[in-house]
Symmetry: C2
């Protein structure tokens, strides 16, 4: 599997990954009816570096990396990852996260922060912990899950 910077022609493959995740509304705090144009502006925004995980010319996952804050907070980065539903369980997110940690160090970031990890997304929480992230904050009932109702969201952090 190759992880490489996004190209404009990758968008339809990326949208095919993002759209079902956004519509499901279980893991990302994004409007379920987010338009394709708005999703593109978000995922490929000028404030971000976006990558794709590719195998045999198929895009299996995508992530972005950006500064989490400006000014005195710009040494901490933030990432978002999405994996194709057809490729879950194959370690794609783990490989993308390892790639992002390496890339963040190369860019000179001193830490990586996830602002809003939905607590019921237990597989993700365990994965991030296994990759060195600590839970540094808990936002009480900050996420309305479509089936579980109001659940906590977690702030996760790793120094680089």
């Amino acid at each position: 599997m190759l992880i490489r910077p996004v190209r404009p022609q990758d968008w339809s493959s990326i949208w095919a990954i993002l759209e079902p995740t956004i519509v499901a509304g279980e893991t990302y705090a994004l409007d379920a009816d987010l338009s394709e144009d708005a999703a593109r502006a978000y995922w490929l925004g000028a404030d971000k570096e976006t990558f794709v995980a590719e195998e045999d010319a198929s895009i299996l996952g995508t992530y972005y990396l950006r500064a989490n804050q400006a000014g005195g907070g710009r040494h901490v980065c933030n990432c978002g990852y999405m994996t194709s539903a057809s490729a879950t369980g194959r370690g794609i997110a783990r490989q993308m996260c390892l790639h992002s940690l390496d890339h963040a160090r190369k860019r000179g970031y001193r830490a990586m922060q996830f602002n809003f990890v939905v607590s019921t997304n237990e597989r993700a929480v365990r994965l991030w912990q296994s990759l060195g992230f600590d839970i540094v904050g808990r936002l009480p009932l900050a996420f309305q899950h479509p089936t579980h109702g109001y659940v906590d969201a977690l702030v996760m952090f790793q120094s680089l």
Copy 2:
């Protein structure tokens, strides 16, 4: 003192409050060289409701309120407050925060979150605690303070 929605003609007074705070770089994670246009787009953005605290036709402070996340996180709001240096110590921030909590309840928000309170801004931390906010997260060394170096930032939260 009257707290009221911002009007377009308030901007020069607001910028006179924001600019020295942004340039000082001690309390907000904003680029110190943020242009006036960018500051205006940020503080008066379409995603925000912005208010001013006015006394005798002078604007002594300003704050914004917005949803902190979209989708399943849109029931939690976020605010930013700035007080004129000439009016510090008079309880302007306290009055603006009380106003914002009341306004947030009217808007149907279920909680208010501050994402990035610089830990060395002790007066603010104490003030928010006195108004019901808890420290629910600590971001290690996430803010580079111009004189104190790398210091923690706090996530503060209050259910409404």
